[in-house]
């Protein structure tokens, strides 16, 4: 067994005029990953926390800015730390902060055609239970146009689609057959999860963490539980940690089967789409037969798991999942020899390694562009350091590379599941709750779509004061525009599918 890693958490306070410099140094020179910006309104002051993680060794850096409340102007770091862009826009929308030097604030999470200006719903004084007055629709509203050329027009798509798709809106700027660029407009599914969590008990917020993005429910529930456990000073027992790994990998396997199904469907290869759909459904059934719920609801708990699993049930689950895994292998072999399929994916939606790095992309999408960052490997949690697995990597950064990464990761998940089922230690699955009072901590998890971060602050009475989720889709939607430039209309669904994005996970 490898020794559990020790995490160094460096907290750096810095003056406002040094902020951009310091963050840029961490991001560019020290090659840290950007986890997110966490804004907190604490009593009479703002606390802004820029969280970075080391990409080569266990360790975190929090750059903290404080300033008294009425002032709400901060320097923007997004010119030099590109992924901070959306974080700053979110803070501007939800808290009313200003970021000097940011090129475009406003109309982001809160759509200007729905909400009044300066609503600032994340401020402590805002009552989330009361309905707010809507804005009168502006009959003259038109989408922003960037391309001005003869014959150019904007093609709006969504939020209601011609199929079974999550709500999102795209403005495709086109001059005919080819699309010059595509702007996604998101947050139609904004349910204010972070706001409605405030004041609730930890167990009730766990329900939200589990349900805001239910196709990756267990991963997010685990991220939340790990944050809460660090605050409460408890640790999940060894058996619970091993079973958590088993469940998390089962979810990853199922998610990837679904993502592969969507890619096959987007190219119109019907038999392959059906084969993948069969495997996804089988994995959903395996999940439900194992733990009761097809999306693994109600298993994760702060301190461990809500229930134990018999060893025979674990081995059964792994054996059935391996059967599905053989189906995936067969599907991959067949896809690799289907030239009409490969033609649709190769060199479609390319993201270069430099761009992936610059925008801190996450998960399989980043790994298909050669950016190997996997929190299971570099910031291990839940005992991942004692499992043997590889982090797949491809270089091309196109749709086909992303598909290959999904297949390779599914195989690694099975490898981890087998180890977890065969080596789960005896003992309890849930640690007793302590009466520890409030505090704050970060939980992190490599969700199926990539790195997810859960920041939690508990008050003295144990209720949630601030809950911040940075889901992987938030990072990857920010980078989606890199892939969708100068392409043919019919490739758009393929690009969308191969990015394995989720609107609801992003919107929260």
């Amino acid at each position: 067994m490898a020794a559990a890693p020790v995490f160094h958490e460096r907290i750096l306070q810095c003056a406002k005029d040094k902020l951009a410099e310091l963050c840029a140094r961490l991001y560019a020179d020290e090659n840290c990953g950007f986890a997110g910006l966490i804004v907190e309104e604490r009593g009479e002051e703002w606390e802004l926390r820029y969280v970075f993680y080391q990409s080569d060794a266990p360790g975190w850096v929090h750059v903290v800015q404080r300033c008294p409340l009425p002032e709400a102007v901060f320097p923007s770091i997004s010119v030099r730390v590109a992924p901070a862009d959306w974080h700053e826009r979110e803070a501007a929308d939800l808290f009313g902060l200003k970021f000097t030097g940011h090129p475009y604030l406003g109309d982001f999470i809160l759509h200007n055609d729905v909400w009044q200006e300066n609503l600032c719903p994340m401020r402590k004084g805002f009552d989330a239970t009361q309905p707010v007055r809507r804005r009168e629709p502006d009959p003259d509203w038109k989408p922003r146009r960037i391309v001005h050329a003869p014959g150019a027009f904007v093609m709006p798509v969504g939020p209601v689609f011609s199929g079974i798709t999550e709500s999102a809106h795209f403005q495709l700027e086109t001059v005919g057959e080819d699309v010059i660029r595509a702007f996604p407009r998101l947050f139609y599914n904004y349910r204010a999860v972070e706001k409605i969590a405030e004041g609730r008990s930890v167990d009730d917020v766990l329900l939200l963490a589990e349900r805001f993005s239910a196709t990756t429910a267990f991963a997010h529930a685990l991220g939340f539980c790990q944050a809460a456990e660090r605050i409460l000073g408890i640790e999940a027992p060894p058996r619970a940690r091993a079973l958590r790994v088993l469940l998390a990998e089962l979810e990853r396997l199922r998610h990837h089967a679904g993502a592969i199904q969507e890619i096959c469907e987007s190219t119109g290869l019907a038999v392959a789409a059906s084969q993948a759909a069969i495997l996804e459904e089988e994995l959903l059934r395996i999940s439900a037969a194992f733990c009761g719920h097809r999306y693994l609801f109600g298993v994760a708990a702060v301190g461990g798991l809500t229930r134990d699993f018999a060893d025979a049930a674990c081995r059964d689950c792994v054996a059935q999942a391996e059967e599905a895994g053989r189906g995936l292998d067969r599907l991959e072999r067949m896809l690799r020899t289907s030239s009409s399929f490969l033609d649709r994916l190769e060199e479609v939606g390319i993201v270069s390694h430099e761009d992936a790095r610059r925008f801190s992309l996450a998960g399989p999408t980043a790994r298909a562009s050669g950016l190997v960052r996997d929190l299971r490997a570099i910031q291990p949690y839940s005992g991942y350091e004692s499992f043997g697995f590889d982090v797949p990597r491809e270089e091309e950064g196109d749709g086909y590379a992303r598909l290959r990464v999904l297949f390779a990761e599914a195989r690694q998940s099975l490898r981890i599941m087998a180890q977890a089922a065969n080596a789960s230690p005896r003992g309890a699955v849930r640690a007793a709750r302590t009466n520890a009072s409030g505090g704050a901590a970060l939980g992190w998890v490599e969700a199926p779509r990539g790195a997810a971060f859960h920041w939690l602050r508990l008050g003295k009475d144990g209720s949630v004061e601030r809950y911040r989720i940075v889901p992987p889709s938030f990072a990857n939607w920010r980078g989606f525009h890199l892939a969708v430039e100068k392409f043919a209309f019919q490739d758009f669904p393929i690009m969308l599918a191969s990015f394995a994005l989720s609107a609801c996970e992003n919107d929260r």
């Binding site: 309905p131 209601v160 079974i164 204010a192 996804e280 059934r285 097809r294 109600g298 996970e505």
Partner: protein, 233 residues
């Protein structure tokens, strides 16, 4: 190409025999709590556990409001647990709502609107097209436009930012039309609503005809809901 044809043939028929025969495969439904008689003390303890007020009791009689159950399993893992049934046929015509009459019952076109879903309900709707459920065999089809839709299938609690889109989709449908609210969020707001940005269900915005409980309802439950919506169940 021939390899795909062979693979398709070799896979054989996967489709469930539901609704003609019961589906008994493992893992097709998360199940539901079932109301039974308990001591008053036990009933009170179970009701206190429920985070969404899906459980209520009058003395020793427990009642379950399936539209609110979010499958947290707290009552199922209590010291004196609720009994749990694996059935899924819980869809019903809402009081005041109306199923479609028998016309064209084998050619029903469905428009799916995501009104703030968490991804699970939508994913289960997607499964209806997979070979296991294959809703085409029962005459159900997904349509891209409200103009051709008979059934409006809505998931999610209806967020403020989706409300206008949902209203427009409903207004764009010709009559007779049937609105199906799918999932705990669409029926009661689930864990999200009501708040300033999420409603307490589809019925706040447009009239609902058929209710399909579950968090998320498994594909068979949604299929049952469609059969209810067309008066075939």
């Amino acid at each position: 190409m021939s390899q795909w044809i062979l693979r398709g043939l070799r896979t054989g028929i996967k489709s469930t025999r539901y609704p003609e025969h019961a589906e008994r495969a493992m893992g097709v439904s998360p199940g539901f709590p079932v109301a039974t008689r308990r001591t008053e003390q036990e009933a009170r303890a179970l009701v206190a556990l429920c985070p969404t007020r899906a459980l209520a009791h009058a003395g020793e009689e427990l009642a379950v409001d399936y539209r609110r159950c979010v499958h947290c399993y707290r009552c199922a893992r209590a010291d004196a647990p609720m009994s749990w049934a694996d059935d899924f046929e819980r869809s019903a015509v809402k009081p005041g709502g109306k199923a479609l009459d028998g016309a064209f019952e084998r050619s029903i076109h469905i428009l799916v609107v995501d009104a703030g879903d968490c991804g699970a309900c939508l994913n289960e709707v997607r499964q209806l097209n997979n070979p296991y459920y294959n809703m085409h065999r029962l005459g159900f089809f997904i349509t891209p436009t409200p103009r051709q839709a008979d059934v409006l299938l809505v998931v999610g609690p209806v967020t403020e930012q989706m409300r206008v889109a949902l209203e427009k989709a409903y207004a764009g449908m010709p009559g007779p039309k049937c609105v199906m609210a799918v999932g705990a969020c669409a029926l009661s707001g689930g864990v999200f609503g009501p708040s300033f940005t999420a409603g307490s269900g589809v019925a706040d915005v447009i009239p609902v005809d058929v209710e399909v409980p579950g968090n998320p309802p498994p594909p068979l439950a949604i299929l049952h809901g469609l059969l209810v919506a067309t008066g075939r169940k």
